[in-house]
Every structure is written in C-alpha cells, then in structure tokens.
Amino acid sequence: MFYREAGQFRTSYGQDSQIFPLRQDRFAMLALLAVAVVVIPYIASDYWLRALLIPWLIFSLVALGQNILTGYAGQLSLGSAGFMAVGAFACYNFMLRVDGMPFLVAVVLSGLCAAGVGIAFGLPSLRIRGLYLAVATLAAQFFIVWALDKFGWFKNNDPSGVITAQPIVILGYAFNTAQEKYLIVLAIVAGLALLAKNMARGATGRAWMAVRDMDVAAEVMGLPLMRTKLQAFAISSFYCGVGGALFAFAYLGTVEPSAFTIDLSFRILFMIIIGGVGTILGSFLGAGFILLLPIFLSVLFHAVFGQTVDASLISAVELIVFGALIIIFLIVEPHGLARMWQLTKERLRLWPFPH
C-alpha cells in the first residue's frame, strides 16, 4: 500500500540507475537526512550527541571501510584499528607542523597516508587468502601501533605519549560544541557513504565482487588482480584513516597509540558481520548494534538491579547477555541486519498483500 510503484516511470538511463529508484525511498532518505541535520542538533541532549551519535557515525565510517575490503573485495582484514591510528596521528601531525593547514585538507591527507600504509600491508593479499590473510593483517595492526608508540616524533615528543587534537576550525569558524562536531562528522560521513555506495554500484564494485567470488576466474576474464586488490586496500584504509582522524578530533580529543587495540579491530569486524557483509547500510546498522547494545544492556541492568546486586555480577551478566544475543542473532539471521531490512522492504512493497 505504501510502496505503490504503479505510475512511476523511468524514462532515461539516469533515472534508471539512481540509487533510490522508488519515489518513496527517495522521500524517506531526504526526510531522514533532514531530521539528522535540522532536528537532531536541537532536541538531542549532550549525552546522546557525544556518547552515542558521534561515535556511531565515526564507527559507521570505519565499518564502511572494513566492508569495502572484506565485504565487497573479500579480503579478510583485521588491521582497521591500525589504519585508524595512522589517520589520527597523521591528521594531528599535519595540523601541527604545517602552519595554517585547513582541517578538511588535513583529514583528506591523513586518509591518503592511511591509504599508502594500507597498500603496503595489502601486498601480501596478492599471494595469501582467507583466514591466513586475516592473521597476516594483524601484523599491520601490531606494527603500526608499535611504531607510533615507539617513535616520539609522531606524538611531538609528548612526555605522556599522547596526542591532544587541535580544535576544528573551518574557514575561520570553530566547531567546538557537541552539535557542531556532530554536524561536521555527519557531513563527512554522509559524503563518504554516498561515494562508497556509488563505487560499490559501479565498475569498481563489480570488480571487487568478482575478485571476492572467484579471483582466478576474474583474472582469466581480464581483471587486473593486483590493481583491484590493492585499490580495495587503499580505499578501505582511506576510510579507516578518515574515521581515525575524526575519532581523535571530534570524539575523544586526547588519544594514545594503544587506544587502537586489536580488540577495536575485532569490534569493527563484528560490526560488518552483524550488520551485513557487503552492504553499505549494514555498516551503519552493525555499528549501531555493537556500539549501542552494551550501553543499553548496562543501562537496563543498572536500572533494574542497581543497588541490590553486586556491580561485578551486573558487569559479568552484561557480557554474557551480549555474547548470547550475538549468537542468537546469527542463528536467526546469519546475513545480518541489512538483510533483515531488505526482507522487510520486500514485504513492505507487497503489503498488505502476501505475495
């Protein structure tokens, strides 16, 4: 009933190849963006913005990068936290050492640095695949964190070994409050998500998916395997790097290299698996799930059991419930949240008819 497609004709190739071919979808997307840009900064509390929305957007971006590499190109990688670290520290150093460097340029440059590192550590993928590649990318993770930690130059020889991000100033306007930081992060993430969606739908994405499904056949068909794989690593690391820069500048503020742990890399992998491997929407949904569910559990248990039960027990139960929910969720829908959404949309298109 809502998704009546009757009467929507597409009369040009441009119309046919839109991201949202249905008018209802376009409307929904625009409404969502309008709410995100106009309504949320006014009604959301500081807690919602600083602790929930901003990290969700940032981790969605990093999960996007991970999805490009693992979901679309099929290269299982566990180095995303390392590339985030490269992005964060590169951005800090660009802002520090180049006078008058605009923030957005620094972010792009730091993404490019991360892309370079990504290519270097992606070289083994030309020979190794599957789980072996995943563990090999852990080398990237550990090495990058070790190098950033060891050489004081990256941290401007700070005695405590941390970097303190400079304030974000674009065209003379300082982005200091939570609302302003949220808007800048939203803008960057939305832009890059759109870019990723188009890449995935185009020839680039198709090349990646060919490599993922059967790389020998892809090579036989004439796809340049090395270029495609390294391109996937580069773009994925670019996204992770930009995410890392935002992580340091718009979220935490002060960051040390060992904040980018292997635990973080694994969490990013979880996000795309739960969200839906090989989908753009899945990155956002998965990031929300992994980020928000533990918080929700924590709030729930403290509210219900609060003063009566030992806090250590509550914390342990949170862990158990979180793990159990992941398992149950995977049993119910192994393809992730994005697939659930897709199935919902399919039924919505037919509703109220069953078929």
């Binding site: 509390s45 500081d46 807690y47 600083r50 602790a51 929930l52 990290p55 520090l96 070790w146 930690d149 060891k150 401007n156 700070d158 005695p159 405590s160 070994g161 941390v162 303190t164 400079q166 979220y251 935490l252 503020g253 002060t254 960051v255 040390e256 290299p257 060992s258 904040a259 635990d263 980020l291 928000l292 569910l293 533990p294 918080i295 929700f296 924590s298 709030v299 729930l300 403290h302 509210a303 609060g306 030992d310 806090a311 250590s312 509550i314 914390s315 342990a316 949170e318 862990l319 969720f329 119910v332 829908e333 949240l337 659930m340 199935l343 919902t344 039924r347």
Partner: protein, 448 residues
C-alpha cells in the same frame, strides 16, 4: 518465511527496547536536595578487574561509612551511581557522559583509575566543571594547576614516584655517591605508562652517574623470556619494575626467580605492588619491594571502624571481606577521603554548610585539601597517607611514597617514614612540560 517472521519480530523488539532503554538513562531516580552526587566509572570485569573492584569498592565503602556514621557531611548524604567502563576509552567516555547528570544534580569529581579514559575526557572537564583526579597515574605535568585547572594528580605522580624510589635505592646503597658506576634496569610495559618515568631516570642517570638500562616488555607481558635473558646478560644492580596487570607483574617475579635474580633488588611501581600481583608468583615473590602511595594493612583505626560499621551492617561493597585492608581497597578508601574532605572544605569556603556544592565550589574544596598530621590522626589514617596540602598551582600535593616488602603472606612497611621525591627537580620538570603543553594547545595559564 519462518526465519523472516522471527527475524522481524526480534528486530522490532530490539529496536523498541533500545529506544525505551536508552531513554531510561537520564531519568534515573531524581536526586533530592541535601544530596551530593558522585559518578563512579568502575571496571569490574576484564584484565584489571581485581584491582578495579578493590579500588572502587573502597571508595564506595568510605562514602557509605560517612553516610552511616556521621549522617553525611553536615547532613548532606552522599549518593552515587556506577557505570562499567571495562578499562576502555570509548566505554569510559560514554560512562562519563551518562554519569554526568542525574536528575537536577551533576557529578563534580571523576576518577576513572585508567589512563586511556582520563585522556578521553581531559578536554571536557573544563567545560563541564568536573574535577578529574588521576590518583597516582596519568599526566605527571597535571600537577601544575595553572595549566590544568580541573585536573589533579593527587597524590604523587609517576615522576615523583620514580624520584622517591631512586632516592630510596640510593640510601640502600649508602648514598648517592655510591650509585656511580652501578646499573639500574627499568623493566617496563612498552606503553606510555611504562615510559613515563624515563625522563626522570635519564636525567638522574646523568647527574648521579649510574647506567640506565631500558628493557621494554610487549603487552600483555605474560611472556618475558627475552627480557630476563637480557637481565642475565647485563647484570643490573637494581631493577625498577613498571608493569601493569597481574600477568605481567607475577611473570616478572617468577622470571626473576628462574634466572636467580634477587627479588630484594627489585622495586615495583604501585601498579606492580598489590596482593593480586604477587600472589600468583607464590614463594618467588618473597623479598620483593614495591612503592606504595598507600600501604596495605588493617591496623588503621579507620579501616577497623569501616569493617565494624559498614560490613557489620552488611552494606560492604567487597564481595570477599577478606580483601579489606588490601592495597587497592585502602587506596580506594583514601580516594573517598579526598572527596569527602573536598566536600567539607567546599561547604566551608562557599558558606554552604548542609547544601549541595556546584563545580567551582567542589574544585575550590579540592584545592583546599590540607591533610595535616593532626587531621590524619583525627580521620584514623595516621601512617596511611603522608601529610600534604594542595593549592591552586600545586595539584599534586605530596610526592612521597612508602616502600613495602612482601614476606610471602602480606606486605610489610619497610620505611616507617615517608620517602620523599626531589620536589624541586620534579616541580621544575612539571612546569616545563606543562608550559609546553599550554603553548601547543593555546591555553592561557591562570594566575594563582
């Protein structure tokens, strides 16, 4: 089809539940007037849970004690809420935001006992008017209250601690002059924490003439073969152990036993000097020294009173009452004491006896912390803390430690008097570092 049905229902339920649940967050029980609210970002699971549960348990037990024994501070009851951070920066920041406001009250002291979390909220405490305390960890240069008005490294930062430890080693060797030509190895967790004392050590190595050997251990440090083989090769006279987590610390001690390195020549940082760190090493830990900013033990009147009043009424926070008097718990109790003294001072200074304090008043109260020997005795903790005083520019206060030694069953205090650091040198380094930070971050130091 079946899958889709279940999946959708599940998803719908979860979505509804998330919305409902998170909107619960701000509406935790409304705080009454005549209550001072504290947010406690504890970690009770994970690798450091043993220490965390002890420390935060100690704080809560002291707050409970003050409520029960004295009816609060001038009639103002202490209330608190906990949030699990898992020693993780992102969770810690979320806990900070969640604990910040409770009804119409706001928390004004935040002690995460975790360097990554302290750094994660460092930039916000100024605007939120929250006193960030780094009890014996974090940025050593936060001792300069002019550059870090809302950050306190009470009491004794890493720089002060290593200075005091080296002073003690010097006395054991018979004087600073005897250290010339000796070797001191710094065995540390390869992180910012482990590297923190190096600037002081390098400087003193030059001044005093001893050779400093730096031996890093990659995290998590449960495997130290290579490092101890280096120790065997270098044969240092002393080892300063700067480890974190029972795995690294107990492994260091057992490795020392395996390579026949005398434990009496090892002095650990206080994160390497708790019961949890030495227990797994068993016999091997006998004779091992550590620095303590707060010694362990139950022979302090306050500790005994808390056990009687709070645990007697069944309101103790530790699930295992045998841990009363352990180092982390004692440290927690003293942290609670700082908070209560701050509230007391704040009420007195702002002339708000019996009323709730706001952020500026709480900070003023904290800066007025003046623990004279008489006050320590009145509180029942004589010998547990050194006598010290904070001020606008000095946010550290003390710089003294006690050296303790493990005898196989408990920690014994080896230095009945407090071992002091070289306060002048440390303050010089602190001010230099803080000034550099101020320039880099474009902060104007306040006048004190």
């Amino acid at each position: 089809m079946f899958n889709v049905g279940i999946g959708r229902t599940l998803r719908g339920l979860m979505a509804a539940a998330v919305v409902a649940g998170v909107s619960l967050a701000p509406s935790l029980a409304q705080a009454q007037a005549k209550e001072q609210y504290f947010g406690i970002p504890s970690y009770r699971v994970g690798a450091f849970a043993a220490g965390g549960s002890g420390f935060f348990g100690g704080i809560i037990d002291y707050l409970q004690y003050v409520n029960m024994k004295e009816g609060g501070v001038n009639g103002v009851q202490m209330v608190w809420a906990e949030c699990e951070t898992e020693y993780n920066a992102a969770r810690g920041v979320e806990c900070y935001q969640r604990l910040l406001k409770r009804g119409d009250q706001q928390m004004h002291i935040f002690e995460p006992l975790a360097t990554p979390i302290a750094y994660g909220v460092l930039n916000r405490v100024d605007d939120d008017k929250v006193v960030l305390t780094q009890y014996g960890y974090g940025r050593s240069d936060a001792a300069d209250g002019r550059v870090f008005p809302w950050v306190f490294s009470t009491m004794t930062s890493y720089w002060s601690q290593i200075s005091a430890k080296l002073n003690w080693i010097a006395t054991k060797e018979g004087g600073v002059a005897n250290l010339k030509g000796k070797k001191i190895a710094h065995l540390y967790l390869d992180s910012a924490f482990g590297r923190e004392p190096l600037p002081v050590m390098r400087r003193l190595a030059k001044d005093w003439g001893f050779e400093l050997i730096e031996i890093p251990v990659a995290a998590p440090g449960i495997e130290q073969q290579a490092q101890w083989l280096r120790v065997r090769q270098e044969r240092p006279d002393w080892i300063t152990l700067w480890g974190f987590g029972a795995g690294m610390n107990s492994t260091a001690i057992t490795s020392a036993a395996r390579t026949n390195f005398p434990r009496e020549k090892m002095v650990g940082v206080w994160w390497a000097g708790s019961e949890e760190d030495v227990l797994p090493a068993g016999e091997a830990a006998k004779g091992y020294f550590a620095a303590a900013n707060v010694p362990s033990g139950k022979n302090f009147p306050l500790v005994q009173d808390i056990e009687k009043v709070v645990y007697g009424a069944g309101k103790g926070n530790l699930s295992d009452p045998k841990r009363i008097g352990n180092i982390y718990w004692n440290r927690g109790v003293t942290a609670g004491i700082f908070w209560i003294e701050a509230v007391r001072n704040g009420q007195r200074i702002a002339n708000k006896r019996g009323q709730t304090l706001n952020g500026d008043e709480m900070r003023a109260g904290f800066e007025a912390l003046d623990l004279t020997p008489a006050r320590l005795k009145a509180l029942g903790i004589e010998g547990m803390l050194p006598s010290f005083k904070l001020s606008c520019s000095d946010h550290e206060g003390s710089g003294s430690v006690k050296i303790i030694q493990w005898d196989g069953a408990k920690w014994n205090i080896v230095t009945p008097d407090w071992v002091s650091s070289d306060r002048k040198m440390i303050r010089e380094m602190v001010e230099e570092s803080a000034a550099k930070y101020a320039v880099e971050q474009k902060i104007t130091p306040r006048k004190c």
